[in-house]
């Protein structure tokens, strides 16, 4: 989906982090800068031999167009439920020790972290696979939307899975499924 967005659009963003934490799962949507080291610390465990950390950062171009800023909006109660469900499923499937998923909301300056996923497992193979699968599930399902603003002020809502559910491509510029970040 690709929709022209006025430069003044200003979605509701929670002023404080929204978190859900159990002994082995940490989920967070936050307006603050992400902390990869906090996520890594959370998943540290004496029974884990492998920790995998993924950091998604915002890129400064989309199809060679200069992106001046990005912001993320969400439906927090639904996104938290979805993220927790993804984490629970992956924890179980890959027999992880722990998993942390943290996503940025609001303005995300170029080159800063927009998503952090940390997982720990007894062995490296499970950790690698779980980390990748968690990211793909988050990108495919979490109710979070990215608004890219280009130099000049115009904005476009991105869709991670353009082409599914009959998404319309307006002008060939959007809808390629390419994104300006991870």
């Amino acid at each position: 989906m690709s929709t022209t967005e006025p430069s003044t659009y200003n979605p509701d963003i929670p002023s404080a982090p929204i978190t859900k934490t159990t002994s082995n799962i940490h989920i967070e949507l936050t307006p603050h800068a992400l902390s990869p080291s906090s996520a890594t610390s959370f998943v540290r465990s004496p029974s884990a031999g492998a920790t995998v950390l993924f950091i998604g950062t915002t890129r400064d171009t989309f199809n060679d167009l200069a992106v001046s800023s990005l912001s993320y909006t969400s439906y927090p109660p639904l996104a938290m439920t979805t993220l927790f469900s993804i984490a629970s499923d992956i924890l179980k499937k890959h027999e992880l020790d722990k998993i942390a998923i943290v996503h940025k909301l609001g303005e995300c300056p170029i080159a800063e972290e927009s998503v952090v996923i940390a997982v720990s497992a007894k062995h490296r193979k499970a950790a690698w696979r779980a980390g990748e699968e968690a990211l793909e599930e988050v990108k495919g399902r979490a109710e979070i939307w990215k608004l890219e603003r280009f130099e000049g002020g115009e904005g476009v809502w991105r869709a991670n899975r353009d082409g599914v559910m009959g998404v319309r491509v307006e002008d060939g510029e959007g809808g390629t499924g390419k994104k300006s970040c991870c």
Binding site: M1, L78, V138, E143, I144, A159, M165, R168
Partner: protein, 100 residues
């Protein structure tokens, strides 16, 4: 989300991303009850063009549960077309997501 409670006889509807752009609002209150199967027609009436431009690619939730308005393509009727949206319900229009 800062959504005010729906007045008596109304439900809340939340618009995200492109749906919010098209309607120029993040939420509003609409008259209840409403058959879920009539929701897109009502929105089209209020926001001409929204179906083609936005809604065809959107999912819908009622009280944080996804509802099926289109069926699964094998000839069966959509599961929730007969579901009735009641006063006080929270409905949301969910465009394709783009986290990461």
């Amino acid at each position: 989300m800062g959504v005010s409670k729906a007045p008596e006889g109304h439900f809340s509807i939340l618009y995200f991303a492109a749906a919010s752009t098209f309607t120029a609002k993040s939420s509003e209150h609409l008259l209840a009850p409403l058959a879920a199967g009539q929701l897109f027609a009502l929105l089209e009436q209020r926001y001409p063009g929204i179906t083609d431009k936005v809604l065809t690619s959107c999912a819908v939730t009622v009280n944080l549960e996804y509802i099926d308005l289109e069926g699964d393509g094998d000839g069966d009727d959509a599961e929730h077309r007969d579901l009735v949206i009641k006063a006080g319900d929270e409905v949301a229009i969910i465009p394709p997501v783009s986290s990461g």
